[in-house]
C-alpha cells in the first residue's frame, strides 16, 4: 500500500485512485515513445495495446506494470535485457519531476556512431600518380570503366566523388544475387509431382491423372554473414567494404554484417540508412578506425558466443574482410575459426593486401587462420569483388 501511495505522491497528484488513473495513461504513452526513441519496436499500435494492458492489470502495482509492459514492448533477448534499466530510469525520473523527451534525453544503447573517432582521412603519403590514375578512372567511357574496376580502393579515397564507384558496388551485389538464383534454378532439376493440382486436373478426365502437374524446388539464396575489420591498418579499405556490405544487405534478404577492431559491433541497422549522404557519413565514422590494435580472435569469439548460433547454419557463407594483422593471440583466432568452420557452410577470407604483388600471407594471424578457410581471396578493387561471386557459385 505504501508503495502505491508513494507513487501517487511522486506523480504530484492527489492520493485518489481517480486522480492517478487519469495521469497514468499519459505517462504510459510517453514511456512507449521513450522506448521507440531507444529503438524498441513500439509504434502507435503498441501504445494502444499498452493502454489496454493497463486496464487488464493493477497498474498501481509497479511489478505488474513492469512485467506487462516488458512482455508487450520487448521482442528479442537484447530488448529484454535492456528493458529494466530503461523502465527504472523513466519511472524514477517521473518521481524526480517531469522529464523531457528530447534527443539528449535518450538513453544510450550500443550504436556504432556512439564510439567513433575522427572522420576518415585521406592517405597523405600517396603520390600524385595514383591520384591521376583514379581521376582517369572516373571519366566516362569503356576504358574508364576498366580503369575503375581495376584500381585499388585505397586510391579511391583520394578522390572526392566516389559515387560512380559506389553505384557499381551496388550493382555488383544485385548481379551476384541474380546469378546465384539462376544457378540454383538450373541445379534443381529434380521435380516432384504436385498431387493436389494433379487431382484437380484429373477431374476433367474422369479421375485419371493424365495431366501431371509438377512442383518445383524452391530456389534458395545462401545466407551471408560479413565480418569487417575496421581497425586502423584497414583504414584505406574499410569504407568500401562497408559500402559493399550495404549493397549485399540490400540484395540478399538473409544477411548480417558486423564490424570489429578490438571488439565486435552489429552494424546492419546502420547500413540500412536510406539517405545516401547520411549513409556516407555514418560509414565514414565506422570506417575511421580506432587505435589499440586489432583483436580478430576475440572479436570472432564474441561472434561465436553471441550470434553464431542464431545467424550461422549449414547454408551460411561467412565472409571475413581483414588484412589479418592481429594483435591478439593467433591460437585464439585459429580456435574460433575452427568452431565457426564447424557451423558454417563456407568461410571466405577477403584480404585486400593479397592484391599487392609483394604480399604473402605470412603474418601469424593469417597462418593460424589458413587451415580453416575455404577460400582466401584478394579484395582490393572492384574486379576482385566481382570475382567473388564466381567463386561463390563454385564453392
Amino acid at each position: 500500500m505504501s508503495q502505491k501511495r508513494a507513487m501517487a505522491a511522486d506523480l504530484g497528484v492527489r492520493k485518489t485512485q481517480s486522480g492517478l488513473a487519469t495521469v497514468l495513461p499519459g505517462r504510459i504513452v510517453e514511456f512507449v515513445r521513450l522506448m521507440r526513441a531507444n529503438h524498441y519496436r513500439a509504434g502507435i499500435q503498441e501504445a494502444v495495446d499498452a493502454l489496454r494492458v493497463a486496464q487488464c492489470i493493477d497498474i498501481l502495482d509497479e511489478r505488474q506494470l513492469r512485467c506487462a509492459l516488458r512482455s508487450l514492448l520487448c521482442s528479442n533477448p537484447a530488448d529484454w535485457k535492456g528493458f529494466d534499466a530503461l523502465f527504472d530510469r523513466y519511472w524514477q525520473h517521473q518521481r524526480a519531476g517531469a522529464i523531457e523527451l528530447t534527443i539528449s534525453g535518450r538513453l544510450e544503447r550500443l550504436e556504432p556512431g556512439a564510439m567513433v573517432g575522427p572522420l576518415v582521412k585521406p592517405l597523405s603519403a600517396a603520390g600524385s600518380r595514383p591520384e591521376e590514375l583514379w581521376r582517369d578512372a572516373l571519366r566516362v567511357g569503356a576504358s574508364a570503366h576498366e580503369a575503375m574496376t581495376r584500381s585499388d580502393f585505397r586510391l579511391a579515397q583520394l578522390h572526392e566523388n566516389t559515387w560512380p564507384l559506389e553505384q557499381w558496388i551496388d550493382g555488383l551485389a544485385r548481379r551476384m544475387r541474380k546469378r546465384l538464383l539462376r544457378r540454383h534454378h538450373i541445379r534443381s532439376l529434380g521435380h516432384r509431382i504436385h498431387v493436389r493440382r494433379t487431382v484437380r486436373r484429373s477431374l476433367t478426365y474422369g479421375g485419371l491423372p493424365l495431366d501431371l502437374m509438377y512442383r518445383e524446388r524452391r530456389r534458395e539464396l545462401p545466407r551471408l554473414v560479413l565480418i569487417i575489420d575496421v581497425s586502423r591498418s584497414m583504414n584505406a579499405y574499410s569504407y568500401f567494404f562497408l559500402r559493399f556490405a550495404r549493397g549485399i544487405i540490400d540484395a540478399f534478404q538473409n544477411t548480417d554484417a558486423f564490424a570489429f577492431h578490438t571488439r565486435l559491433v552489429h552494424i546492419v541497422d546502420t547500413l540500412r540508412e536510406p539517405d545516401r549522404h547520411r549513409l556516407k557519413e555514418k560509414l565514414a565514422w565506422i570506417a575511421a578506425g580506432w587505435g589499440g590494435g586489432t583483436r580478430i580472435g576475440e572479436s570472432l569469439q564474441a561472434f561465436n558466443r553471441e550470434y553464431a548460433r542464431r545467424l550461422v547454419d549449414s547454408r551460411t557463407f561467412v565472409f571475413i574482410l581483414s588484412d589479418g594483422y592481429d594483435t591478439g593471440a593467433p591460437e585464439l583466432l585459429g580456435e574460433e575459426l575452427r568452431r565457426l568452420h564447424q557451423r558454417a557452410k563456407r568461410i571466405v577470407w577477403l584480404n585486400p593486401l593479397l592484391g599487392r604483388a609483394d604480399y604473402a600471407p605470412i603474418a601469424s594471424g593469417m597462418q593460424a587462420a589458413l587451415p580453416y578457410l575455404d577460400l582466401l581471396a584478394p579484395a582490393h578493387n572492384l574486379e576482385s569483388l566481382m570475382k567473388i561471386e564466381e567463386m561463390l557459385v563454385r564453392l
Binding site: I57, S71, V195, L203
Partner: protein, 295 residues
C-alpha cells in the same frame, strides 16, 4: 475451465499442475488471454518453454494442439490437405452416376475429404484449446508469413471450400530457440517472454515438485551443483530438463548425498553434458572442485 482472475490465481493454478512460474511469466500469460494475442517464448534449450504450453492446457483443462515446426514445413502439413486417395477412389466409384461434373466436384471437395492439420483444428474447437507452435525458428520464412496471416485474422481460406473462420480463438504459444532471426512482423504480433535459466530457489522448487521421492538435502546439492556448472564455459549449458533427468537418475541409483558417492557424479554426468567437448572440459578434478562448493 474458468478464466484466470489475476496473476496470483494463475501462478497457483499452474503450480497445481506442476509448473512453477515466476511473476513475469504469469503476467505475460494473463495478458495473452486478455488481449487474445500469441505469446512468443524465447530462451535456451531445456529451460521449459514447451512446458509452459502443456501446463497452460492442464490448468485450463483444455486440449493441447501441437505443431512442431521443421525446415520445409508447408501449408499441407500445418493447415489442411485433401485426402487424395479417397478423392480418386470416389471419382472412380461415381463414374457411372449421372450427376453433373460440378456436382461431382462439389462432392469430392467437401469436408469429408478434408484432412485437418493442427492450425485448422485449433481454430475449429468449440472450447478454445492451447495451440503450441514449437520451434518456429526452424520453419522457413514463407511459412512464418503465412502463419502471421492466420494468427492475425484467425481464419483460413481453402480455395475449394471457402473461408473458415475461427469458432473460438485458441491460446497460442510460440517457442523459438533462436537458431534464426524471426521477422519483425511476427515479433510485433506477439507478446514476448524471455525465459532464462531458473534461479536457485525456483529450480529447487521445480526439482522437489517434479522428482518424486527426492530428499530435500540431495535436491539442494543437485541444484547448487548444476547452477555452478552453468557458470562454467560450456558449449551447451544444462537446462532445467537436464537437472530433472539427473536428479531422477541419482534417485534411481539410490544416492543419498552427492559427497557420499563422488564416482556416481562422474558416471552420470552424461545426463547434464551432452557434447563430447563439454564432457572433456569437465574432468574429475573439476567436478570435484564444483562438488566441494556444492555440499
Amino acid at each position: 475451465m474458468r478464466a484466470f482472475v489475476d496473476t496470483e490465481d494463475l501462478i497457483g493454478r499452474l503450480e497445481d499442475v506442476g509448473y512453477i512460474a515466476e511473476r513475469g511469466l504469469a503476467v505475460a500469460l494473463l495478458l495473452m488471454e486478455q488481449l487474445k494475442r500469441p505469446l512468443l517464448v524465447e530462451g535456451d534449450a531445456g529451460v521449459g518453454k514447451t512446458e509452459i504450453a502443456k501446463a497452460l492446457a492442464a490448468a485450463h483443462g483444455c486440449e493441447l494442439i501441437r505443431l512442431q515446426c521443421y525446415e520445409g514445413l508447408d501449408v499441407n502439413a500445418a493447415v489442411y490437405e485433401w485426402n487424395y486417395q479417397r478423392q480418386l477412389l470416389s471419382i472412380k466409384m461415381r463414374e457411372s452416376e449421372d450427376s453433373s461434373l460440378a456436382e461431382k466436384e462439389r462432392h469430392v471437395f467437401s469436408e469429408d475429404y478434408l484432412l485437418q492439420r493442427p492450425l485448422l483444428q485449433a481454430i475449429r474447437r468449440a472450447q478454445p484449446p492451447v495451440l503450441l507452435i514449437d520451434e518456429i525458428d526452424r520453419a522457413d520464412e514463407q511459412f512464418e508469413a503465412y502463419l502471421l496471416e492466420v494468427l492475425s485474422d484467425y481464419q483460413v481460406s481453402i480455395p475449394e471450400l471457402g473461408t473458415i473462420r475461427a469458432v473460438s480463438i485458441p491460446h497460442v504459444v510460440l517457442t523459438s530457440n533462436g537458431t534464426r532471426e524471426l521477422s519483425d512482423a511476427l515479433r510485433r504480433r506477439c507478446l514476448y517472454h524471455y525465459l532464462d535459466y531458473p534461479s536457485y530457489e525456483k529450480e529447487l522448487r521445480i526439482v522437489l515438485r517434479r522428482v518424486p521421492g527426492i530428499e530435500e538435502q540431495l535436491a539442494s546439492q543437485i541444484v547448487t551443483f548444476v547452477q555452478k556448472l552453468r557458470a562454467e564455459e560450456l558449449q551447451k549449458r544444462p537446462g532445467t530438463a537436464e537437472t530433472l533427468d539427473w536428479a531422477a537418475a541419482l534417485v534411481r541409483l539410490r544416492v543419498s548425498s552427492l559427497d557420499a558417492n563422488p564416482d556416481f557424479i562422474v558416471d552420470t554426468l552424461a545426463c547434464l553434458l551432452k557434447t563430447r567437448e563439454d564432457l572433456a572440459a569437465m574432468p574429475p578434478t573439476v567436478t570435484a572442485r564444483l562438488l566441494a562448493q556444492s555440499v
